[in-house]
Symmetry: C2
């Protein structure tokens, strides 16, 4: 069981932008800091913008920043929105061919487990990942200047 | 986020064998019932045997059956043992290259969410999937004769 790289990168982008406060950052700078391909990040950022997490300012000197306060970005919500699907097993999907589906109790149990997973993540916000004690350390590792909110 | 097909098939095999009580079943019969390739099932069954869930009786008239009572087979435990890894994001893996790992709080939060997921599954056993009300219905869908425990 893995999250997609897509979700993984989304969380990294949010951490990066969270550290930068209101300052604008470019995809190139995020790409350099994490050593992630620019192409991958483009798609991630587009989706983060579509979901209302990130704001993109165009033109010369433009760039990205968070659209919402970090304290309002719940991690479970990010995972739920960025994962292409949360179809744990075949019977969660449209192309399901498992013959016992009409009687099987497993999907209901797996759904409850998935809810427990997301609920636990939703107890935490992006702000918590950027708490005073760790933010400056992460900024150092990314070789960026942290901007106090 | 998905479980592997491997884990999905493991659960199906356990349901099948659970319905058959002490009777022996062949991989071919499970393959026919679910419409799953025999090759896939071979590997799944080998691993289920290695983990002590399934007993394989060799020779003419041989076959498979559960090695442990269905009431003692916890679903979270099965998922934990059958998933090749539960490495939700890159920093859970040996080839991790995420630069913020030394300071990042995300792995701890994701670990807690994973524990919540497995714990919820562990509240349920294989026996529960074969409760009186559903077992006969599943047996019908699989076109097999259910053996009362």
């Amino acid at each position: 069981m893995r999250l997609t790289l897509y979700t993984d990168y989304s969380l990294r982008v949010l951490i990066y932008l969270g550290l930068r406060g209101n300052e604008l950052s470019t995809i190139q700078s995020i790409s350099n800091a994490y050593g992630i391909s620019r192409n991958h990040l483009m798609k991630v950022v587009q989706e983060l913008a579509r979901e209302g997490y990130v704001e993109s300012v165009r033109g010369q000197g433009g760039g990205l920043r968070l659209r919402r306060p970090a304290a309002e970005i719940r991690l479970g919500e990010v995972v739920k929105k960025m994962e292409p699907d949360l179809a744990l097993v075949e019977c969660f999907r449209a192309d399901n061919r498992c013959v016992i589906t009409p009687a099987c109790q497993l999907p209901a149990i797996l759904s409850r487990a998935l809810t427990a997973f997301i609920d636990e993540l939703d107890r935490h916000t992006l702000a918590e990942l950027l708490s005073v004690s760790t933010a400056s350390e992460i900024a150092d590792l990314l070789d960026i200047k942290q901007i106090e909110p």
